[in-house]
């Protein structure tokens, strides 16, 4: 019997990091661990370690994290491909 049943998979749309044009980088020296970048990332690409960690395999480079960081600890630079 076949019908449209799908299973939860990380990277269901592939490595969406390849969509990125701008690349966020975190200066953990500045980070105050408010976790705004973590909660606002539409791609769940930031995880909570000691400091926020960006998963570049999936980060689409939208820049919300940088825009929402209260201390400008995240910078968006052009992606080197």
């Amino acid at each position: 019997m076949k019908t449209a049943i799908s299973y939860p998979t990380e990277g269901a749309m592939g490595k969406t990091g390849t969509w990125r044009v701008f690349r966020p980088s975190i200066d953990i020296g500045k980070c105050i661990k408010c976790w705004r970048c973590w909660i606002f990332c539409p791609d769940a690409a930031i995880s909570k370690g000691e400091y926020p960690v960006i998963d570049y395999e999936y980060c689409k480079g939208c820049g919300i994290c940088a825009n929402e960081c209260p201390v400008n600890a995240i910078e968006m630079g052009r992606e080197e491909k």
Partner: protein, 303 residues
């Protein structure tokens, strides 16, 4: 930190569980996924999502994979609330008491084509949470106007700006006398999370509407999604409130505005969005006037 009312006070206290998996199909900067991430952190594993045709049907990614980590039943565009009734009745028959059926629908699926099924499900007391993520147009099909599109906004079916005002679905929903109605937006994750949590603890029909500013639809840079949501509240264009058994209380910034805090000029919000670029001064005056009237009305009824 958690308040004595059990409310989460800071972002760091939100659960780490993730039900929207990395590598999904949403546009970069998508507000709907931010909203869904926070929502599912609050609702947890024992949630059944019902999703009509909308962006969130696409965001799931392609068969045979899905980016959603809770069971999800896709259904026709106008049918989600009726499907939730079916799920809720089945749960009763199966004796499952702590699973929540949750509709996750766009404004098109809620304000327009799905309003009949929504009203029916509310009126017959379906035990579910209906969530409308409101991006104020049909984005799935290429940015057409909906009943939630504000006056003046460009869409691909209102090239010179929408000529009518939006309707207020949450107020229509309140006329159904249901236990819980709330509005929220992605800029205030704690507020959104706490409202979801509160809804989850209740029984009967519950309705939550989330403003979700959409970069391609509203024509702004994808990094500004959250900022525009915040400005929508600070300018008074979007209002945060909740109504428990019909008793309305404003929350967060909207409460402060109600209590006298000055609203930021609406122009600040309008000028950030390409969809309002063509507005003439008289259009802006009209929007301002209607916004003033809306707040006057709130002040009167909220006394």
């Amino acid at each position: 930190m958690v308040s004595d009312r059990g409310e989460i006070m800071a972002i760091k206290d939100l659960p780490e569980e993730e039900y929207v998996l990395k590598g999904h199909a949403a546009c970069p900067g998508c507000p709907a996924t931010i909203a869904l991430r926070i929502t599912l952190k609050a609702l947890g594993k024992k949630t059944i999502l019902v999703i009509p045709a909308c962006c969130s049907a696409v965001i799931q990614s392609l068969y045979p994979k899905t980016s959603f980590g809770v069971p999800t039943l896709n259904i026709a565009f106008e049918a989600s609330a009726a499907a939730a009734s079916g799920v809720a009745s089945a749960l009763k028959i199966l004796g499952e008491k702590d699973i929540t059926p949750v509709v996750w629908a766009g404004d098109g699926g809620s304000y327009d084509i799905g309003i009949q099924a929504l009203s029916g499900a509310l009126e017959r007391g379906t035990d579910f949470i209906y969530i409308c993520y409101n991006n104020q147009m049909y984005s799935n099909t290429g940015i057409q106007r909906s009943g939630a599109t504000p006056y003046g906004a460009w869409t691909t079916t209102t090239w010179t700006g929408k000529k009518e005002r939006q309707k207020e679905l949450a107020e229509i929903v309140m006329a159904h006398h249901i236990p819980y109605v709330a509005t929220a937006t992605i800029a205030y994750p704690e507020d959104l999370y706490n409202k979801m949590k509160k809804a989850k603890e209740m029984k009967g029909p519950r309705y939550i509407e989330i403003l979700t500013p959409c970069p391609p639809g509203w024509r702004f840079d994808m990094s500004k999604t959250v900022e525009i949501a915040r400005l929508a509240v600070e300018t008074g264009s979007w209002v945060l409130y909740e109504a428990i058994n019909g008793k309305v209380e404003f929350t967060g910034q909207s409460k402060r505005i109600l209590e006298g805090k000055e609203r930021k000029p609406i122009e600040d919000w309008l000028k950030m969005q390409g969809r309002f670029r063509h507005l003439k001064q008289e259009d802006i005056e009209k929007i301002k006037r209607e916004l003033d009237e809306k707040w006057e009305y709130y002040r009167k009824v909220m006394k």
